[in-house]
Symmetry: C2
Subunit: 455 residues, 2 copies
């Protein structure tokens, strides 16, 4: 047993851990930093579905701690056994002890396991764990599978199903218990368009139904749905969500929120002095809803991690954004779906009054170019003050950055009145026309709906 000393110890080598390490080491170059990883190779988390077709190889989807090492940080591949906040100690699985001044939990999340489904533990029931070894093994299994059932129509389930269905020899089904896939991130209009694309991809879509049972003799053979449908299956991929990895923190007596994520304040501080948590393992507060929740996005995690890196030893960077804004996007066979902030269902369930402004245009001008896509923009707007609280886009590739215009607008409390005179850059080959730029037109229409609402 050896005892080592580091000023900062970070548990977890995903985006949150690495960015905390890089930013922190640059801010505090005289401090020693240790990053503890479970596996030597890390993955680009959002790239995982694309390993199964477009990228084609897990080794082309790697993301490692090189920037952290380049900045002078040290990396150790070893599991953590426990943490003792009182003694400022981390105990490793090999028995070694690392003493720290500041500790960061960046332990990420693990796939949820539906223990309530009979047959959940059969051979061939797979999970999308964000681990090199798991994904490498899963790729090998799916490569030889004919019948694949994906359970869960969130982003990862939808993207996995779409990618797997690219092989025409394969029979891919997708099961979603809600009325629509992606219903957590989009309103009905967008979900309907997304499902068209999912079907166009050759995926057999089953919505408003659940998995009743996974059948098989030791190994998966069939999936039985609650509507009676039976689907042949060589592999069942459970993509029903993730839960924060909090066991070590919990054992150490650190406070969790109602989502079983580590409680943190606006500066990512936990209930224990000198202990922080960042990324999927930590709780978040909705930027618009004000509610506790647990958004798990690499983009959000890295934004938190940058703030944390600055502020490890004292507050050097004011965190202006008092809450987490989810900005989502995906691309289904060239059609892009993106949303930011409070979409209609979210606003409704959080008791937030809203009006919408919707505009449909094309993403080039004039429309005579060959690569034109339809562009739908919807803004969700607070009807009294006109502040933009959410947005939704279906369009071509440009929607991937256009959603970030809306994201910035929400974060800066921009009103639809300001958006009406927003000075935009437009170009025939790149955007819609300045005379009817969809974001501005949607703002104009929201103003009209505010008038009706307030009269």
């Amino acid at each position: 047993m050896s005892v080592k000393n580091f000023d900062v110890v970070i548990i977890g080598g995903g985006p949150a851990g690495i960015i905390t390490g890089v930013t922190g080491k640059k801010q505090y170059p005289d401090k020693s930093f240790l990053l503890l990883m479970e596996e030597a190779k890390g993955l680009v988390p959002c790239g995982i579905p694309y390993v199964f077709h477009d990228v084609g190889d897990v080794d082309k989807n790697l993301m490692g701690p090189k920037p952290f090492v380049d900045a002078g940080g040290e990396v150790l591949v070893e599991k953590v056994e426990s943490v003792n906040p009182k003694n400022h100690e981390v105990v490793l699985a090999n028995g070694d002890i690392v003493k720290y001044e500041k500790l960061v939990f960046a332990t990420g999340s693990l796939p949820s396991i539906p223990r309530f489904i009979k047959g959940y533990d059969l051979d061939g029931v797979e999970y999308i764990k964000k681990s090199y070894n798991t994904i490498k093994a899963l790729k090998e299994k799916t490569d030889v599978a004919k019948n694949i059932v994906v359970v869960g129509g969130g982003f990862i389930g939808v993207e996995m199903a779409e990618q797997l269905a690219r092989d025409p020899e394969r029979n891919v089904s997708l099961i979603e218990m809600e009325k629509y896939c992606l219903y957590r991130a989009f309103s009905e209009d967008a979900c309907v368009l997304a499902e068209e694309k999912i079907k166009e991809a050759g995926v057999n879509l089953h919505t408003s139904t659940k998995v009743q049972e996974v059948k098989g003799n030791g190994k998966v053979e069939k999936v039985v749905l609650s509507d009676g449908t039976e689907l042949d299956a060589d592999i069942v991929i459970m993509a029903i969500g993730y839960k924060p990895r909090i066991e070590i923190a919990w054992d150490a007596g650190i406070k969790l929120n109602e989502w079983k994520a580590i409680c943190v304040d606006n500066y990512l501080r936990t209930s224990e002095p000198d202990v922080f948590a960042v990324g999927d393992c930590s709780g978040t507060k909705g930027f618009i809803t004000g509610n506790d929740n647990n958004v798990m996005l690499a983009s959000t995690a890295t934004a938190e991690a940058r703030v944390l890196g600055y502020n490890l030893f004292s507050i050097r960077l004011k965190r202006n954004i008092m809450g987490t804004l989810s900005v989502f996007s995906t691309d289904l066979r060239g059609k892009v779906f993106a949303s930011a902030g409070a979409i209609e269902q979210v606003a409704k369930s959080a008791g937030i009054e809203y009006v919408v402004g919707k505009f449909i245009d094309i993403d080039r001008h004039p429309g005579a170019f060959s690569d034109t896509s339809e562009l739908r923009v919807k803004l969700i707007v607070s009807p009294i003050d006109g502040i933009i609280i959410g947005g939704e886009i279906c369009g071509g590739k440009s929607a991937g950055e256009l959603i970030n215009v809306i994201g910035l607008a929400i974060q800066k409390s921009v009103t639809v009145f300001e958006m009406i005179s927003f000075q935009i850059g437009t170009h025939p080959l790149l955007t819609g026309a300045p005379t009817k730029y969809a974001l501005v037109k949607a703002a104009e229409l929201a103003v009209m709906n505010m008038k009706k609402y307030n009269s």
Copy 2:
């Protein structure tokens, strides 16, 4: 001679006139609106270069007053002879008189004519007037031309040259007197990349040189440059800039600024009561520089026009943006160049201190996708307060909307400190990685440069 009465008369049927009309008529539905146009068919102004190849037909690049007519406005195709602000009268070329309560100049701009160049008036010297008839005739002429010389390496000259050079039978030269093309909108780094693309398009580029003389016997035959080069030419296209169309306003005693554009205040009001000016014909004030200038962009014009439409009879919409922000973009053979606000040269010449933050990444993650482009982002930042005052991007198509994130940041005085924790949306198929999203990394690097600057 007839006398008609309208509450609002708008002179000019380009983007500024149409959007003022549409917005105004919707705001004041009980008022009567007349739009005076010189030609029955209007063009998408920024689409003009693409008529010459990608769009291929001037009739596929039309933009008319239909939304204005649908809203209840009236259109008359007739030239204006003069305006009498004291009597609230417009005199038409046919002798008819239109009386108004409010008058809007949206008369646009005309190509600058280089009368100082010998041979400027030879047959075959052409100008890119934003007129259906002119562009239709020019298209017919270029279709049969073998040797074309384009003079002026601004956006329109560059785009025209690139489009004309798409026909491999044609020999296209581009003349720019500055060291680089597009030097008004981009710093040296970006200009060098843009010129690579211009040359790759097959354009013969001549920079740091001027046209000495256009030679020919009645009709253009040769262009002689100041460095002695002689170029064969069937057609010479002068793309050396535009000047505001202000003759009628000037004759009516309305005040002009030093750029010979109509003086307007922040609400587009001229020196005469009840008379407004909007778009290319009116002067602008630099959002960052504070200087009088004369930005001519359809995007800027339409932003002004929306504000004006609301405020024709009283101030209903506060105009938050106290100045004009140029946001430029263009696409040269799949490489996109975009800038917003004060680029380095602009800041320098306006006496504005600045630091930059530059980051180069790719616009997908991981980089293993087939449609990946290099993405370069440069932020220009005020070194004391950290406010973003300009930005520049070279990248793939997504740069066309990413520049609007920077544009909104400038308009809302976002600092690089805020940008560090900006919550972005990222997706493997659509954007760079969240761990090194170029805009955020550029902000981080600007903060480091601010530290050096302030130490």
